[in-house]
């Protein structure tokens, strides 16, 4: 199962929205919580509709609009999104209203908007798109599941322009809840120092990223998405390396053929060892990069990594801000993303130059 990435659209804590420039400068955060740099939504949304939408819905619509514009595709054959938290802000509003008003006076708007599939539904409503529409809610595999569905849809010949994406928003309340279970660092770590951190926990992030997948070759394509593997709760490093080897072998590749590996290093001492071991042994000949200092940790952060890989392959350049050590390769043909969410949901993406 393979597909080309025809277009991208992303809103992240960096200056990534609707711009030709590729991470020209890094926005550094020092408060352990990265929030998206959002555009003015008036350019994308009718104000009458926008007033009912939560932040992540607006982010999703704007990011998907940028993807449609970038790909030149006005109407997708299918829409698949992945989200772990759905429309969290509206869910909180609705639940809070239940508690505060003793289960009385419940208003419809936040309830209607709080469902996980609101973003993909709103994208379809905006386009009047009646095609296949699905939302995957699988924690750290939410985005990956949408991509897998996109690849399978293309493999089965059920569509030529498939919109896949991931979106999750961070709220103050969710940050505090996750803080209590040890997701975030106790001390404030500036994001550019995240990779050197030796303590437990990461920094919180959020984002919305969309991709137009297509089976057809074109000069416009960013990259070819060649494989995606889920490695759920790997028992040890050997299992991870063996699964990656299998994935590469299926494509006639070995670790030495991977020019660049993008790791999901998040500064959490509990989980970064896996990435470091891959970097220092299995992929010792590959250039290394990371991305969670730019977008923070969140369940659909794999979408930021896929955007980064696609941009690197299209621009044939690696932004210095994502490199770990030196760039060892003059040309980047094969990129592997290895990411995990909190040590359980591991995934590997293989992308190649078109």
């Amino acid at each position: 199962m393979e597909a080309y990435i025809r277009g991208v659209g992303i809103i992240s804590p960096q200056k990534t929205f609707d711009t030709e420039e590729f991470l020209p400068e890094v926005v550094e955060y020092s408060n352990n919580s990265l929030r998206c740099m959002e555009p003015s939504y008036k350019d994308f949304l009718n104000p009458t509709l926008a007033r009912r939408m939560g932040r992540v819905v607006k982010m999703g619509i704007a990011a998907s609009s940028a993807c449609f514009k970038d790909s030149g595709i006005a109407m997708p054959d299918a829409i698949m999104t992945g989200t772990a938290l759905g429309c969290l802000e509206d869910t909180e509003k609705f639940l809070l209203a239940i508690i505060e008003n003793d289960e009385q006076f419940l208003t419809p708007t936040s309830f209607v908007q709080s469902t996980h599939n609101t973003v993909s539904a709103q994208i379809a409503l905006q386009l009047k798109c009646m095609n296949y529409n699905f939302t995957y809610v699988h924690k750290g595999y939410s985005f990956e599941s949408s991509v897998l569905d996109g690849l399978m849809t293309i493999a089965e010949g059920n569509g030529k322009n498939i919109l896949v994406g991931g979106h999750d928003e961070m709220t103050d309340k969710y940050y505090r809840v996750c803080d209590r279970v040890g997701y975030w660092k106790k001390e404030m770590v500036p994001t550019m120092q995240l990779i050197n951190s030796k303590s437990d926990g990461s920094v919180a992030g959020e984002g919305a990223a969309f991709f137009m997948l297509s089976p057809e070759a074109s000069d416009k394509n960013y990259a070819k998405l060649r494989s995606l593997k889920f490695i759920y709760k790997p028992e040890n490093q050997q299992e991870i390396e063996s699964r990656i080897s299998e994935m590469l072998a299926e494509k006639g590749l070995t670790a030495n053929d991977i020019d660049l590996v993008i790791y999901g290093i998040n500064g959490d001492a509990r989980y970064d060892g896996i990435y470091n071991q891959l970097k220092d042994s299995y992929f010792k000949n590959s250039t290394a990069a990371y991305f969670k200092h730019l977008c923070g940790e969140y369940q659909t952060s794999g979408s930021f990594a896929m955007w980064l890989a696609a941009r690197i392959l299209k621009s044939k350049s690696i932004p210095p801000s994502v490199l770990i050590g030196d760039n060892r390769h003059t040309s980047i043909k094969n990129v592997l993303i290895y990411n995990s969410f909190m040590g359980t949901d591991h995934a590997a993406f293989l992308l190649s130059q078109c």
């Binding site: 104000p47 009458t48 926008a50 007033r51 009912r52 008003n101 009385q104 006076f105 419940l106 208003t107 419809p108 708007t109 209607v112």
Partner: protein, 84 residues
């Protein structure tokens, strides 16, 4: 009455998240639905909840809604006449 109208406008703007609308933009006698503010059926539910929550008024007969929510002035009048 004018004080109530002013208060009601603020509450409607907040409840319906009318980001770009200011109190002075709302004509006291303009229709709330369709033309004027351009509200819809979901907004109608929000307004019914607003009346009950903020003023303790239950709209028992849905058929009355059309008259009550004709404009800001008719809404304010209904509140004045029925407030407990």
């Amino acid at each position: 009455m004018n004080e109530l109208i002013d208060k009601l406008k603020g509450e409607i703007i907040e409840q319906l998240n009318l980001e770009d609308v200011k109190k002075e933009d709302i004509d006291n006698d303009a229709p709330l639905f369709g033309e004027g503010l351009g509200l819809d059926s979901i907004d109608a539910l929000e307004l019914i909840v607003l009346l009950e929550k903020n003023y303790g008024i239950k709209v028992a007969n849905p058929a009355d809604g059309k008259k009550i929510f004709q404009s800001i002035r008719t809404m304010a009048q209904y509140i004045q006449d029925n407030k407990k």
